[in-house]
Symmetry: C2
Subunit: 379 residues, 2 copies
């Protein structure tokens, strides 16, 4: 708890929508904000006290940006970890610790971490070259995931049978046995420097099978008490061994027998926590500031149930963005519109989201369909 | 409704906490923001796309700032109105219209406006010189209000009897007959360019008698149906004749017989609407963006009842701010803390606010007392 009159200086690596929403929340607190990002027109650039144009993957750039800050966080995993390690050694608090980033950034290390710490996750094999997949026919159906560099559905291939094997990656990857998914669940969980945790209610994520992009998500997820306890216990098990403060999004599958498997973990604020801005007392963004500023953890309870709908660029349109049907969406009662301020759209690009609050699940689903039927992001 | 890919360019005159919260809300929309303010360290300076250092009371400064913008708004009435008139004539949309600012900025014209449009308000006399008050002994007890330049309790004197007359102003002022106040009520009301209105539930304001500063406010105010209808009708009557889009805060007294009197109106986002950020579907800040961007009006309903507590600088402390007891406040469940980022505190200065949500009035009052007993803004 900083009680002195000096404001904490906190930096963010990356200036996308997560940074933007983090900075909207920062303006509730006594903090001086810094953003490092290559694009000076990015969604977060104009919402910080100090913007630095630069490459978050470059050692010197990240190190020079972070020197002299009190704390630093990320909005994307693909950053220069060595620079963060040096900053950490010099006393800058890093959320999450670079050691966690090393594990999570690489899907092979991430799977090995789950295995080592008895966190339930789908069976897997490591493949270093394309040829190795061909020998794993008996392991199919499976999902092939590139070790590093995947994002938003890129770097993931479903290999159901021998015929799909050609889609596999010729680089270090994980081949994960396919789970007979009943539900996809995400839990946002926070842990502070003293090890105290705060867990948000699980959300159910519904994906568009074509884009592999989140279509909408419902909070709280409709789970039996037993499954709820299981997913909460699993989320806690995931973060406990990281030994790092931070906010984490743990994505899980629940199969038809009620077994829970961790799909993957993001060590940062996450798309699956956007609804917390309006639907919960302390949002995921507020929570991360509380962690970084040494404040008490926030209240993760929901005020009302919610649905969150991503607004993504429509197929076939690239260029200067036009929001068609926005007026209809803004007319919907209890809908909170967030546009990320991106000037250019392209197919599948995350351009914004809408959160709807209602005590009635049918009302939530009806309104989220209305949004999807009315809003088209064109160019 | 702007459907083209060009973002609207919107300017704000003034960069205090109202500008700050307006800009937090702006980041939900497709808009390019501009702020004009003399202090580059002001609460809003780092949250806009373009900051201009300059005097909001200077004609050329305001005119040059506003040229080329699509719309412009204010966070304080004391701005150069002539420049806004010229900008309006040249096609910049001004929220509210400069003609409204002329009326409201001057308490004499404001009172005359109420009288002219049969808006109930306390009986008053206009005084141009100190000597005139001495002749109005039979009109006491009354409140003497400076025509121009008052703010946050400055420029207001209570004159109960002959002995207090010496406190009166020797400048154009209004002497207002004192109302036997039962309740102080404020209503935030929005009106768009087509004349459609959206009205927020009334809040009850409780003042600190020493500072004449808002102590806390409760939403919704505890009113009989009859009084509720009356205050809503009066708020509508106030803004109807302005013939201007914008957001307005109408402050009213309800006396012990249930009669309603307009105290004053602010033609902008207002302290009495801060709770709408978390407690209502569309906040006053969101609502103003909707007006300025030509979007549909938002939903003014509350999600949960709320109390808002102002955080003001403690007596006897001036200098670099220290928030003592902030940790205790941040531990309170369902409390939303907003600090305005001001580096310097002084007695009575508005440094932040806290909004508490709860379905239970006792819980709201208990928690707001806890805040007032724990938090001290020192230097």
């Amino acid at each position: 708890m900083k009680n002195a009159s000096d404001r904490s200086k906190v930096g963010i690596l990356g200036g996308g929508q997560l940074g933007r929403m983090l900075l909207q929340a920062a303006a509730n607190y006594h903090v001086e904000t810094f953003v490092l990002e290559n694009d000076p027109e990015c969604p977060a650039a104009h919402l910080c006290n100090h913007f630095t144009k630069g490459d978050i993957k470059d050692f010197n750039t990240v190190y020079n940006f972070g020197k002299g800050l009190d704390a630093i966080t990320i909005e994307i995993e693909n950053v220069n970890i060595e620079a963060l390690e040096k900053l950490e050694a010099e006393g800058v608090k890093v959320f999450p610790k670079p050691s966690v980033l090393r594990i999570i950034k690489n899907k092979i290390l991430q799977k090995q971490y789950y295995k080592e710490h008895q966190v339930p996750t789908a069976d897997f094999k490591i493949t270093n070259h394309f040829a190795e997949i061909t020998e794993m026919e008996s392991f199919l159906p499976a999902v092939h995931k590139l070790g590093e560099g995947g994002y938003d559905g890129r770097g993931v291939q479903i290999i159901r049978s021998k015929a799909d094997i050609e889609k596999g990656f010729d680089a270090p990857s994980v081949l994960e046995k396919m789970v007979d998914i009943d539900k996809e669940i995400a839990i946002i969980i926070a842990i502070n420097e003293k090890g105290a945790t705060a867990i948000y209610p699980p959300v159910a994520m519904i994906f568009d099978p074509n884009l592999n992009m989140l279509d909408y998500q419902l909070c709280p997820a409709d789970l039996s008490k037993q499954t709820l306890w299981k997913v909460e216990a699993v989320a806690l098990a995931v973060i406990r061994n990281f030994k790092s403060p931070g906010i984490f999004a743990v994505e899980m599958f629940v199969d038809r027998t009620g077994d829970v498997f961790v799909n993957e973990t993001a060590p940062r604020v996450h798309n699956s926590g956007h609804h917390t801005i309006e639907a919960h007392y302390s949002s995921q963004f507020d929570m991360l500031w509380r962690l970084m500023l040494g404040y008490p953890l926030g209240n993760t309870e929901f005020i009302l149930p919610s649905v969150m709908v991503n607004i993504v660029g429509a197929d076939g349109y690239s260029g200067d963005v036009i929001y068609e049907g926005l007026e209809e969406v803004l007319k919907i009662e209890n809908a909170f519109v967030h546009l990320y301020g991106k000037k250019q759209t392209k197919p599948g690009r995350k351009m914004g989201h809408v959160t709807i609050l209602s005590a009635e699940k049918q009302d939530l689903l009806h309104k989220s369909n209305k949004i999807k039927n009315n809003l088209v992001v064109k160019a």
